[in-house]
Assembly symmetry: C2
Homo-oligomer: 664 residues x 2
């Protein structure tokens, strides 16, 4: 074991890599890495199970730097412990364009970065999801295969964000005892001392939600180790308040907000070198210290090899299941099962809400995919997310596949990111579409990281009726479509809903939103076709009876209006086609020829969607008409609302007539 003096020097290596990298970039946050260097050194050299040579080892401990602005702490650790992705040149390139060491840790930029952090509180929320994933997979595959900890370093800011409360209360409720949060309790925020804005007793707060809590001197290796030892034995998740000095070692700035988020300056860094007795130059690590770190990085190699033997010794079916899930591949039966479901729907033509259609799809999916983990933010009977064969995860009982997330939309989304990041599971979770606003911070990170999370967002328009404008999404489809790399689906009937579910599950590289109706909708896809039409993003649902004069574009519940408008127009002798647009994003991926064929050049164009127009120019151009919302909704019966806001077949017909007459 490393001597206290060696541990101190190992920590100093982090401190000066961080201070010097921030100084070189003239940008960044030296305060946290310098303050938490001792805690991180103890964790990474004595406790954390990981293998830099096999960073994707599924049974590694997870480490989340929730306080992502302290990214140099993580980059230093990855470099020092021997991850190949981060060499000293990467450290020198900190915060430069194209480097593997951006301002905040970005998932995918380098092995060892378990999640993207920076927006505060998110990492803590991810870690709760990771810790849930560990328990679920442990229940499925046993201690031999899945048995690890999730460690988090969180700052004061993480704990002030509301999302932290959602994460903490969920973790406490579920008794996730393999979750350990190391709180950088330095008492400093950007505005100054934390006491300017907060007086919370965090230990008491965490205890109120069933956490084990303790404190340590975050600058004393033995005290840190004592606290981690105890945490690992607890039957509850643990918060360790690590009392630290922000910017530890900086002679005049340590312990002040000046050390938080700006370069310390050459003089201050020189002073720190003197104060801490660190003689190595910038980006130099004395060989004894680097050796000690590299040895720390080798600590778990044997453990990893033993684990691989245990995996190899599993029965082929279990091993195959584990390996398939780890590769994020789907089992072979999904596409056949969805085809069969679609055939049944086409035969029976049910009039059901798409939220109900989603449940029908999930009944099939959850039977075939053992890796799905469903849930809802306390709207299970409204989101239709719980299928017959799923049972619930409960405190101390993790062999279920359904999570009652509680009224915690943001925490749910962050936990789902963590479930997906952990690997082995595909999370989906429900709330109302309008409350995507509450979860938006985490939804954006699903997209930025490119993780497979499915958001089941029901009650997707004024069609929800009496709950009124607070509950009626109006701008939400546009606002979600605005997020890069997020796929937003709004299926029109049970067939499209099944297709959209299939696409969402088959996309390993990113999140999907399913926007689903509360109200019943007729089956409009009444004829069997080959393949998944929704995968084209938009497709001709109904052709015109003759050379098309008008094209009506619609999504979801407004397809019914489009179909009725077409009927009227055709009866008036206006050949009209209807294009269903389940996904803007997928349409953009199609060939130019296909897109042209769908856009219907030369026809007059109307789009109808019970939301705002923003973004629809892509389909109807600047001359087309839009039938939808221009402001907030209202409380009332669904039929009154559609009439009141003029979202009717008559409006569509009249818009077409007007344009046809103008063009004449």
């Amino acid at each position: 074991m490393n001597s206290p003096e060696k541990l101190r020097r190992m920590a100093h290596a982090i401190r000066f890599l961080a201070a010097d990298a921030v100084e070189a970039a003239q940008s960044g946050h030296p305060g946290l890495p310098m303050g938490m260097a001792d805690v991180a050194t103890v964790l990474f050299s004595r406790y954390l199970t990981f293998d830099p040579k096999t960073p994707g080892w599924p049974d590694r401990d997870r480490f989340v730097l929730s306080a992502g602005h302290g990214s140099m702490l993580l980059y230093s650790l990855l470099y020092l412990t021997g991850y190949e992705d981060i060499g000293i040149d990467d450290i020198k390139a900190f915060r430069q364009l194209g480097s593997r060491t951006p301002g905040h840790p970005e998932y995918g930029d380098a092995a060892g970065i378990e999640t993207t952090t920076g927006p505060l509180g998110q990492g803590l929320g991810n870690a709760v999801g990771m810790a849930i994933a560990e328990r679920i997979l442990n229940a499925r595959f046993g201690n031999d295969i899945v048995d690890h900890f999730t460690y988090v370093i969180a700052g004061d800011g993480d704990l002030m964000e509301g999302i932290s409360q959602e994460a903490i209360t969920l973790a406490g409720h579920l008794q996730l005892n393999r979750l350990v949060v190391l709180w950088d309790h330095n008492g400093i925020s950007i505005d100054g001392k934390l006491e300017l804005s907060d007086s919370t007793d965090q230990l008491e707060r965490f205890a109120a939600s069933g956490w084990n809590t303790s404190s340590c001197d975050g600058q004393d290796a033995e005290d840190i180790a004592r606290a981690i030892d105890a945490a690992r034995e607890s039957d509850r998740p643990t918060l360790i308040a690590c009392r630290t000095t922000i910017g530890f070692g900086a002679p005049t700035k340590a312990g002040t907000s000046k050390a938080h988020g700006s370069p310390l300056g050459a003089e201050e860094i020189a002073g720190a070198r003197e104060a801490l007795g660190w003689e190595a130059g910038p980006f130099e690590v004395p060989s004894d210290v680097l050796d000690a770190w590299r040895l720390a990085g080798l600590r778990s190699a044997t453990k990893r090899k033993e684990w691989e033997k245990r995996l190899a010794a599993l029965d082929p079916e279990t091993r195959g299941d584990f390996e398939r899930r780890s590769r994020r591949d789907l089992p072979s039966g999904l596409s056949r099962a969805i085809e069969s479901l679609k055939a049944q729907i086409i035969e029976k033509k049910p009039e059901v809400a798409t939220r109900k259609a989603s449940e029908m799809a999930l009944e099939v999916i959850n039977d075939i995919l053992p890796e799905t983990v469903g849930g809802s933010a306390d709207l299970t009977p409204s989101n239709n997310t719980l299928t017959k064969t799923l049972h619930e995860i409960a405190p101390g009982r993790y062999d279920g596949r359904y999570i009652h997330y509680g009224i915690r939309e943001h925490g749910m989304a962050a936990a789902m990111n963590g479930l997906a990041l952990h690997g082995g599971l595909i999370p989906y979770g429900g709330t109302f579409l309008t409350f995507s606003d509450y979860a938006r911070g985490a939804i954006r990170l699903s997209a930025l990281m490119g993780v497979r999370v499915v958001y089941v967002l029901t009650h997707d328009s004024i069609g929800l009726g009496e709950d009124g404008p607070t509950h009626q999404p109006v701008e939400h489809l546009a606002a979600l479509r605005a997020i890069p790399k997020l796929r937003v689906f709004r299926p029109a009937d049970a067939v499209e809903t099944a297709e959209c579910w299939q696409i969402a599950l088959e996309n390993k590289e990113g999140p999907s939103v399913l926007a689903l109706s509360r109200q019943n909708l007729a089956t409009v896809r009444t004829e069997p076709v080959d393949g998944n039409l929704c995968a084209r993003g938009a497709y001709e649902l109904m052709a015109a009876s003759d050379e098309a004069v008008a094209s009506i574009f619609a999504t979801g519940s407004e397809i019914g209006i489009a179909v009725e408008a077409r009927r009227q127009l055709e009866s008036e002798g206006v050949p009209t086609r209807v294009v269903s647009v389940p996904s803007f994003e997928l349409f953009e991926l199609q060939s130019p020829e296909y897109r042209r064929s769908i856009l219907g050049e030369g026809t007059v164009k109307v789009a109808v969607e019970a939301g705002i127009k923003q973004g629809w120019e892509r389909f109807i151009g600047c001359e087309g008409a839009f039938v939808g919302m221009t402001g907030f909704g209202a409380s009332g019966k669904i039929e009154d609302l559609y009439r009141h806001f003029g979202i009717t077949a008559e409006s569509v017909v009249s818009a077409v007539r007007q344009m046809v007459n103008t063009n004449d």
Copy 2:
């Protein structure tokens, strides 16, 4: 004082109005009104200071039904206590289109509704703002004029939402002892028993943030009164856990999630009538009970009259200030001061970030408007929100005008809504534009309610540089412009920033976002002009040297790129105009003639903004070119990023050239 038996019958009146209204609408939430009827009866008949005949009385106690789904509780109280806006016919029209009694309480639909609630946790956040407002105004105007309580009814859902933690910790920190939260502790959520998803000891949790806490039997008037009496004497904000039975009185559904959000059914309601001995028919209130309620509504009339006398007795200046603020009028000097600031800027032509320009404007504004209350979510030195003459509000010291909101964006936004709703104050608060995602739930409500809140959102693009994609807004301008009734401003220099501030303050009827740069920008408005050009939404910043061939539209930091592109194009013989677009929303309010003149028919069009294209078709049509972002940002130096993403004068010039050549 009413006898216990009379109080019970008064509560029953609420219960049956609620149950019958929900039944008639076949939609709504009977559970909370029936469970909390006793608590509400005690509060409204014994404690709450209010006058239904003068609902806008500034010194009334504020009552917030944070659990807005229980709206029939509030509507019943307003009807019973004699508010003229809510008659029995309004109760009968519950949840119907055009009624004053929508599904959730909507601010502005009827007097007595202090805020719009429904999205959980928001009302609690508003109440914290109201309680802060009360203390600030008390410090300014004294006990004789401002001295009241803020009472909240909150449900389990309110307390599970993360925003509640932000609200609670802020209130506890600031020792807002006139804030009393009555928690409907019924142990039931939509998914079933609360214990399915939560194990938090709420009393301990609130205590951890400095709250006074107590419990009472929520069905026992005397016990409720005892708890409220104690709360009113506390030197801290108080949480009272009111143990209640959801749907109290319903024979088979009480105490279960079945009573929460669906009509009880005729049989169940008949059973409740029998169980509670209530013989009056639907929508009937026995005259003795209605009399008792109406008397409760008259309780504070004398107090109100005495208050009016005290107000009249104030010195004219103080009274004038109070009355002006209550009318939400601005003092006369603002527009002159802004003109003078603009003149100074035009003279000196500083190269400053618009966040700095915002500070320059605020220095002027805060001196003239005593009603502004600034703040930041722990980014004061980055948002530039604290001006020289403001000092801070602190625990027990409320004579300041600056709030360190802490790292609580959502809580800040909700509190600002409460500050604005209270009256007498104009709140503004800062965070990074990207973290508007965290506050979006509350920003939407600012817009829906139409309250004057100013969001100071700095670091508004990839121009923030090294912090990288988590911190770089890309879709946020589009996503905020999507919210109905929200004005989004992106000023281009210090002159425009001053103008946008003026517009934001002069708009009594809604919120504004100021999107501000981190990086320095040249002054582009170098000539004095009459009036406020930004008030037109878009205007010609630079005319073409000859008949215009090209129009470049830009906002904020990209105006510099537009100006440089124009220079190059003009030098190539392409007469080019530059249009600055500080606000899409205001542009839409201009005359068709003005809009046509700005859009530059017949010219080729390019827009440049360091965000996504969505929405820009309004200016550039479907043929125009857009220079901006198509995906997430990256970490790097600002100049590298602009070059990397092709947001340059060269890109604009090349787009114009291409279109001009195509058109030839």
